[in-house]
Symmetry: C2
Subunit: 453 residues, 2 copies
């Protein structure tokens, strides 16, 4: 937490945008359209088989908005495109984000139609930041939501993020590790994420380590001598033979033996875990843990847990890191008001709600009952989820939450979901999200104005 | 092309790794295991329904290997973990990559078992770079492979990458835009990718632009005045009404009207394109193109093309950007020799081949016939695919290929695939990849040594 991420180079972050944001901006600038606009970022529907999302990515958004500016190099490139006037580029050079952000705290479970965040600012400011905000919040929410399912399936057993090698690029590797941690994963293999975010880093050994040595014994001995509480990978050649070699190592090293665990990375993990446990226990190694990995996701983790296999922890990589069952969310950043008037896009159908909104969450005996999406100014029963986290471009204390607090919030909130929503199988009925009568009436009024307009 | 990517900050790229790379490294260093090792990066199998991959990502790998070093800040973080000795950290501070890389040129179609690249270097060097190499080549190959399918489906009609908002993070956005371009996509909406790689950037307008204006007419007029060849988005309220407004605008502006196209982003695109074409043609706007977008992938693009719908170009976003049908490849970086001896991991089964390898590609009359994976020193009929691109840590001219040349190479090579391999449906039989008798014999010899060892 005490190190800043210099991953997103200040040099070019302003160009992480779609070209049309800039062409639209020049038009707004020419037309003098700088009235206040509100954009709402929300998900239109959940992926099939998913029962909830976990909001994540606000930290990246606020860091971006606080520091946003076009560098001379960026402006030079834009000038080379031939579509922008010198006067406009000069205006861009002075462009800063001075608006307001209201957002649900990171780590909060969310449902369709509920704003993750709302940006209110002069139209050009609120529009230009769309692409980056979407890029970050979409992926991080996707990652935290997937991780929450894996952590729920593991039922308290530690899960380590092994996804860096197949996650999509280095930014996803870094932000994903943070999002998985928010979602309930316990540690990551990603060293940069440890450095930047203070997430616990863990690792075992690779098959190549065993292969490079003359034999398994030599590899295990070298590693165990250097890292007393290490986890030895036993499946390079013959898994159960590998486990027996760990027991032999205990005999050889006697009191100096301090191996913490073994890792199974292939084969029938339930059966192998049972056999490995028996070999370890017979060899007097009851304290040596069994760690399982290899193509796992929430379903295979749950299967291992439900089988009662003696697996103490999981390494989950690719399928979590790319959110294999649902690699995208149907998320959108939509203009909902301009110049004090509600806006909506009719071709989207009924599912768009104009204006600034609030979500009221009701619970009973520590279990979430239902949410109501309402107009911002309504005062309904329940806990309002959106808080103002940035005003006039300046981050408020509500927008500065330590990662550990975010993770605890997520754990608590996910635990308070009804059991059927926490389950891996699709919930029937889904979590109830109601639209307040006032918001409904406002939607109808706005729709009428635009269909006749 | 004349701008370098400062995206990957030199400050921390050395930490984009799994912790176990560093713990294994300290062990190698302590044991003096610095003999030459070869690692092979390849795909074990294709995703279901895919017939080929397109290799991509080598440029990122070479740039990384050329500049790799641990900064004092990185070493300070590693010291804080308590697992590494001061002497080892000092050694890390002087660590550089001085090895050799042999690789298939970017843009080359590849199949399972064929090395994308092979790294030969002292064991610690070849091992440490695994995570970053995997992270970059896996994603970029995934992206180029998906884009090739989309471009094939579009049958020459331009495709624009609209994926930045839902691609996984900013690094994937940047590298993905390049990979899509290699795979045959024509342009990107990603401004940074335009700046860094010189890829053509394109954009239209967003629904919010139309919504923020009092009505569609005003929005269209403002945009068309500013950008004479612009593409107007017509589906914010009623699609065909939107098209009629474009025709009206022509009547109003007369010769000043230079709108280049319209974009359809929702609804039944085949029917709407036909109806829009009829309205435009009747209005004397035969030269105005129709551009389609909205949840497209290779299958929906092919459907539109096969229906003969008058669509002149496609904007493809989310489903291409996350490779929705196959968001990961079964790619691995495996130790295949150490100290001059072949290595393999028995638990993986027969599909791992030891030693340094070469792929010989045979073609007849411009159509690829089959590939043979062989030992490096074999001299078989056909064109050898792997070239030495880096030696002693220095990039060779073969490793410095302009992006346009890579894209042309990919287009040519993909066009030379047999028709059933270029098709979207699974090919039966798949493209034939043979293993040379000498490589097979070597595999058996190594397997025997390790199973008895």
């Amino acid at each position: 937490m005490n190190r800043t991420s210099s991953w997103v180079s200040d040099l070019n972050v302003s160009l992480v945008t779609d070209l049309y944001q800039l062409t639209m901006l020049q038009s707004y600038w020419r037309e003098g359209m700088e009235e206040e606009a509100t954009f709402s970022l929300y998900s239109r529907r959940l992926p099939e088989h998913r029962n909830f999302m976990v909001a994540c990515g606000l930290e990246s958004v606020l860091q971006y908005l606080e520091t946003f500016r076009f560098t001379p190099e960026s402006l030079e490139y834009l000038a080379s495109l031939g579509s922008f006037s010198g006067e406009f580029l000069e205006w861009l050079g002075a462009f800063r984000f001075r608006g307001e952000v209201r957002a649900v705290p990171e780590g909060t479970p969310l449902f369709p139609q509920e704003p993750i965040l709302e940006v209110t600012a002069p139209l050009p400011q609120a529009q230009l930041v769309e692409t980056f905000i979407m890029n970050q919040v979409h992926f991080q929410t996707l990652a935290a939501s997937k991780a929450a399912r894996v952590a729920l399936a593991a039922g308290g057993r530690p899960v380590v993020d092994f996804g860096l090698r197949r996650i999509h690029g280095v930014d996803a590797g870094l932000k994903g590790a943070r999002a998985f941690y928010v979602g309930g994963v316990h540690a990551t293999s990603n060293v940069l994420a440890g450095c930047v975010f203070g997430i616990p880093v863990l690792g075992t050994m690779a098959h190549s380590f065993v292969q490079a040595h003359p034999d398994e014994e030599t590899a295990f001995k070298a590693f165990a001598a250097l890292y007393p509480w290490s986890t030895l990978l036993v499946d390079t050649y013959d898994t159960l033979e590998g486990v027996r070699k760990v027991v032999q190592l205990r005999g050889e090293l006697e009191e100096a033996f301090k191996v913490g665990g073994i890792r199974l990375d292939s084969g029938d993990l339930v059966t192998l875990a049972r056999e490995a446990r028996a070999i370890l226990d017979e060899g007097g190694l009851k304290e040596v843990k069994i760690f399982a990995s290899g193509g796992l996701d929430e379903h295979s983790v749950l299967k291992i847990v439900q089988a009662g296999a003696p697996v103490d922890g999981f390494g989950v990589g690719t399928r979590m890191s790319v959110s294999a069952d649902a690699p995208s969310l149907d998320m959108a950043y939509k203009l909902t008001s301009y110049g004090g008037e509600g806006r909506l896009k009719l071709s989207l159908g009924k599912g768009v709600f104009p204006g600034r909104k609030q979500v009221f969450r009701m619970e009973r005996d520590g279990v979430l009952l239902r949410d109501v999406v309402a107009r911002e100014e309504e005062d309904l029963p329940g806990r309002p989820l959106l808080k103002t986290v940035m005003r006039e471009g300046v981050r408020l204390p509500e927008g500065r939450v330590p990662l550990e607090a975010i993770r605890e919030h997520a754990t608590r909130e996910v635990a308070s979901l009804p059991a059927r929503i926490r389950a891996l199988a699709p919930a029937d009925p889904p979590f109830p999200v109601e639209i307040s009568p006032r918001l409904q009436a406002y939607q109808e009024a706005v729709a009428e104005r635009f269909s006749t307009g």
